[in-house]
Structure formats: C-alpha cells, structure tokens
Symmetry: none
Subunit: 218 residues, 2 copies
Amino acid sequence: MVSEKPATGRRKIKIEKISKKNHLQVTFSKRRAGLFKKASELSTLCGADIAMIVFSPAQKAFSFGHPDVDSITRRFLSGSPSPPSSGLPQLIETRRNANAHDQNVELTRILDHIEAEKKYGEVLDRMRRADRSRCCWESPIEELELHELEQLRGALEELKKAVAKQVNNILIEPTSSLPFSAVNGGGDGGDFAAKLEIDNASSAALHFNNFGYAQKIC
Amino acid sequence: MVSEKPATGRRKIKIEKISKKNHLQVTFSKRRAGLFKKASELSTLCGADIAMIVFSPAQKAFSFGHPDVDSITRRFLSGSPSPPSSGLPQLIETRRNANAHDQNVELTRILDHIEAEKKYGEVLDRMRRADRSRCCWESPIEELELHELEQLRGALEELKKAVAKQVNNILIEPTSSLPFSAVNGGGDGGDFAAKLEIDNASSAALHFNNFGYAQKIC
DNA sequence: ATCCCTATGTATAAGCA
DNA sequence: TTGCTTATACATAGGGA
C-alpha cells in the first residue's frame, strides 16, 4: 500500500526552490522569522555581534543588526583592507540601555514583537475609530457605543495577545535565580503568560486611561 | 528523592549570556553552523540573497554571502541613502542562507542597514494613519525594562478583562452606567495603578507598534 | 500576510571521545 | 574545535480562518 498521509503535521521537504509561489512566500515568512530569532538568540547567548542583510525573492530588503548593522560592518571593514566606500554616514549612538545584557533581552523581545507590530497597526486603526476625538482611552467608556466597545475589545484582545507573546518569551523561566535576575524582577512572568486568557473577567479593576503614566505621554 | 534527571538529552536553556566560557564556545560553534545551514536552506528554498557577518565573542569574524557578501551589501547600500538608525538595533527581519560556500571568509565591505529605511517608511506610514488620536501607547515596547513589562502585562490584563466585562455589562444592561469610574477603586486596581509609575526612561505605556523608530511621532 | 493547530522533522544541550 | 549519542526543545509544513 502506498499508505496515504493522514497527517496534518509537518512533512519533510526537499531543499530546493519552491515552485508554488504562494507556498514560497509563506515559507519565506516563517523561516525568515525563525532565522531571525535564532540569530538574536545566538547574539544573546554568546554575545556575538551580527549583521545580516536579506533580499527577498521580490528584492525587498531586510536587515538585522546587533547591536546594529553599521557598527558591525564598520568593524568588519577595519579588519580588512579594501573599502571602496569607506565613508558611510553613521549615526549610531549608544542607546539608552548602555547595558549590553539589557540590549540583548530587548533584542529578543523586539524580535518576537515584530509580528505584533503589524497586528498592532490594525489595532491602532480600530482603536482610532472607536476613539473619536479624545486622546487615548481617556474618554470614559460610558461614552462609547456598543459596537465601539466591541471593537475596542477586539483590539485589546489582539494587543494583549501580542504583549503576552513578548513578555512570555522574556520572562517565562520559573525559578529565576540566575545572573539574569539583575534585570528580571521576578518569576511570575511565566505564570502570567499562560493565563493570558481574556475571558477571565473576574474582578479586574480597570482604569485604563489613567494608569498614571499614560497621560504625560499624550 | 529529587527525581534525578534522565540527564542525557537536550535541556531547555534560558536565552541569556552563557556564563561558562566553555559552554559558550561550543554553543557558538554549533549554533553558528545551524544558523548558516538554515540560511542556506532559506536561500535555496526561496531564492533569496543574503549577506551575513558574525563576530564571535572572541572578535573573530565570520561571514557568509549568497551569492556573496559584496554584491549584497552593495545592493543594500545603493538602495537607500541614510539609515534612520535611531537607538534601536534595527532588526527588521532576517534570513540567512549559506547553501554555498564561504562562511569563514573574511570579507571587506560595508553593510548598511539602509533597508531599514524602507521598513521604517512603512511603519511610519501606518503609524501616521493610526497615530493622531492615540498617543499614550507611544513608547516603544522595546524600551521597556523587564519589570516594566511585567507591569505592562498586568495593566493589559486588567484592561482587557475590564473591557470584556464592560461590554458584557452593557449587553445585559442597556442602561449604560459608568461602572468603570468606580471599579477602579479596588485595592487591586489601586495598587496596580500606583505601581505603574515607570521611570522616565520608558514611559511605560504599552504600545508596541514601532520597531523602535517611531517614538517621536506622537 | 498572520494566527491557530497538529504531527513531525530538526536543531541542540550535555557528555564523552 | 569537531564528532557522536541521547533525549528533548523547538521550528515548521500543510491546511483552514
């Protein structure tokens, strides 16, 4: 028997150009993400600096750099002789996080966040509609129309999911008692990640608009 | 008994700088190899061009390019004028290919993340549209410290729950009241709110929509 | 393009050679 | 540093929404 594949799971593929354009794009996206993640992990784990430039099949360029492409490139250049274009504008400054470790952590977070960003774009869009004129969520919820509330809820769902994902990646480790603790405030992060279900409307006090910190930002 | 570990076999590790130098070195080697492999697969599968430069913790340089680092970097450079490298490591996306050959070849060229600009433009565009109204979520999540993230997560959790609940309430009671104003009086909420004060460093509002280049939009 | 899900294919953390 | 082995943690191909 040829034994059909009832499996919906992963299947082995041959490493050769994917013919189905459709498929190819999906694969590109997924793998690109995975690759990116791995790169950031490598830099975090080993403290290695990495610069990467990728051109998608559609010639769209993507780049990644830790700490940034420029510095890596420069260093690379200074190590070898033959810089035809050695004078690049470089406006890289030390970011607020002078701490390398923090940067690494941040990097990872950002990595995972890239997807969230997109999602967020949609969210923002929706939010704006439901928001009308006030700044953020300042306006009392009472003033929102029902459908607006629904949208808001949807937006929050997305938002939360996104954040959860990120946070989850950063502080999931239980018993965090490592050198990392310097930054990590505690270990309840993992717990949280698992419980990010929205429906648990228990007592949640919510005061969203005035978390106290939001206002000044506006 | 402390339930001994079946020991042999992969163990989960935390993504943070490896302390044991020994370990770090091994890990670096292995992961680097894996990274290149995946890169090559990606390039083969999707026909993408990739350039990559990696500095080992010992500052040893490794590079990989498909078809070669030079051409990629050049293309990258000519593609954009000046990088918006603000303070974040611009990790747009990454992908690595190796498929071919040189991996440990020291090359000379400038890698510029100008491409980030494109992405940046996109982001800006999107943000611009969704911006205007909501600004409190402005601070890039990338800038949040871990503990801030925890708070953020808490805030979101509450927020979401609250909204969900609210919507629920309204659905049941057409009489829109202002439950929220009072709800937040709870100890939980209060406490939470109080803790939400974040350092200026990262105006803790949540919001992640920019890869890091968007902070000044608001 | 992104999310979810499932069943696998793979990459790999430790150890030891 | 590179290989081999084991047992596992992760990544991801397909397919659907």
